[in-house]
């Protein structure tokens, strides 16, 4: 069934159109929306686009990095200032998917997708959204927890503080097929250090619940401690706590629970 395509130059108008029509879907890179349309998804009758330049802007000059929701993974890979995000960006799809897929779309991508969002969660990102009644900022964790109810809002941008050192941010996607397979699990950690102790530990996991989640028990095991063997072991042992992975063609829930601690140990100890 044909759909109506509405393109707006202003994000305000796009947001108003999106929030007033339950069958409207915003089109980012289209890698998931177009697949749904190709498969005859009749729940979509309107496609909304916004050509506003703000949607594709990247700000790296200050202490906070801002990525417009329409920024593609290929754009991130072309930015030297975003080198710490190259591993998550490169881990997504093949080259064509990276040229098309956006960071905004990734926030909504169901398991096994959402790899970039796992990195954003470990960086405590803030999501700027525009609803029918105005704009607001939501912490990414809260955004993800209420993701099912966010369908009528337009994501404008995502922002976060630049990690203090290159070593503080770590990312790993576990896949069976390389270089392009879907994730068995995805892990990201942000471990800022004060003196020799970790302050503000963040560990995020993908494919361990219906949306990316924080591994809070592992974070508690890391907080205030030096990153030594006993801390790493304690964090690895706690990694599975609070997770609720599902079974899919890539791995069973049981397997995901078995390996999450192993991979967190490797990530924290810098092993390949």
């Amino acid at each position: 069934m044909p759909v109506t395509v509405k393109t707006f130059t202003s994000t305000n108008e796009a947001a108003a159109a999106l929030s007033s029509d339950r069958s409207a879907r915003y089109l980012g890179g289209g890698t998931l929306v177009m697949r749904a349309l190709n498969e005859g998804d009749i729940s979509i009758s309107t496609v909304i686009r916004a050509s506003d330049q703000a949607m594709t802007r990247i700000v790296t000059s200050g202490a906070r990095i801002v990525l417009g929701a329409g920024v593609t993974f290929a754009r991130i890979l072309a930015e030297r200032d975003l080198a710490f995000l190259h591993a998550p960006a490169r881990s997504i799809g093949g080259p064509a998917v990276r040229n098309m897929g956006t960071v905004g779309g990734n926030l909504f991508a169901p398991v096994p997708y959402g790899d970039f969002t796992v990195a954003m969660l470990a960086l405590d990102a803030v999501v700027s959204v525009q609803g029918g009644l105005g704009g607001r900022e939501i912490g990414i964790e809260e955004f993800l927890q209420s993701r099912d109810r966010q369908t009528g809002v337009l994501v404008l941008a995502i922002s976060f503080a630049k990690p203090g050192s290159a070593d503080a941010f770590r990312y790993r996607k576990i896949a069976r097929i390389k270089p392009k397979g879907g994730a068995v699990i995805t892990l990201a950690a942000h471990l800022p250090v004060n003196g020799s102790r970790i302050v503000g530990a963040r560990v995020a996991l993908g494919s361990m619940a219906p949306t990316p989640i924080r591994a809070r028990a592992a974070e508690r095991a890391l907080e205030g401690r030096p990153l030594d063997t006993s801390t790493i072991n304690a964090a690895a042992a706690a990694a599975v706590e609070g997770t609720s992975p599902g079974d899919n063609a890539l791995a069973s829930a049981w397997y995901r629970r078995e390996i999450v601690g192993v991979h967190l140990r490797r990530l924290l100890s810098g092993q390949e």
């Binding site: 109506t4 395509v5 890698t31 177009m34 349309l37 190709n38 080259p95 064509a96 040229n99």
Partner: protein, 159 residues
């Protein structure tokens, strides 16, 4: 439902068509323009045989809303040959037995062209990465990788 007018450059030529809302670029190219070189494999982004270059960048035409290419350039396999002469990549695919049924070949050639346009002397790993979104069900990847390396500038590809 009203159709939407759409103009873009297709292999160096201006085209103007009318599309239904939600039409993907692959359908527009094949059914409305008659360029059968991009193939329909999966319609899900999984196989890469529908690959095209949009403003020189590799995209999957099955996942591209046709209307989004308004005013842009779209290049398909049909546009890469130089008049009656085969493109060096096409010649290398023939010489290296890199095609069997040929279904993946248009997408493989376009993905390889996107790589060589940017990086004329890629390493083997870079070739593997460049075609990682393309599935071949018959020949296998080795002859395809070898063909791309052979076509890379002057055949002097890095190991």
């Amino acid at each position: 439902m009203a159709k939407t007018p759409l103009q873009f450059q297709h292999n160096g030529r201006d085209v103007a068509i009318f599309v239904d809302g939600g039409t993907n670029l692959l359908v527009a190219l094949r059914e409305l323009i008659g360029d059968m070189t991009p193939k329909f494999g999966c319609g899900q982004g999984g196989c890469g045989t529908c690959s095209v270059l949009i403003d020189g960048e590799l995209h999957l035409s099955c996942l591209t809303l046709a209307e989004t290419v308004a005013g842009r350039t779209v290049e398909t396999l049909d546009g890469i040959k130089d008049g009656p002469n085969l493109h060096p990549l096409q010649r290398a695919f023939a010489d290296n037995f890199a095609a069997q049924c040929g279904y993946c070949t248009p997408g493989m050639l376009i993905a390889a062209k996107a790589l060589l346009d940017r990086n004329p002397q890629p390493s083997r790993a870079e070739v593997v990465e460049a075609i990682s979104g393309n599935i071949c069900r018959c020949t296998g990847y080795e002859p395809i990788i070898n063909a791309v390396l052979a076509a890379a500038s002057g055949g002097r590809a890095r190991a």
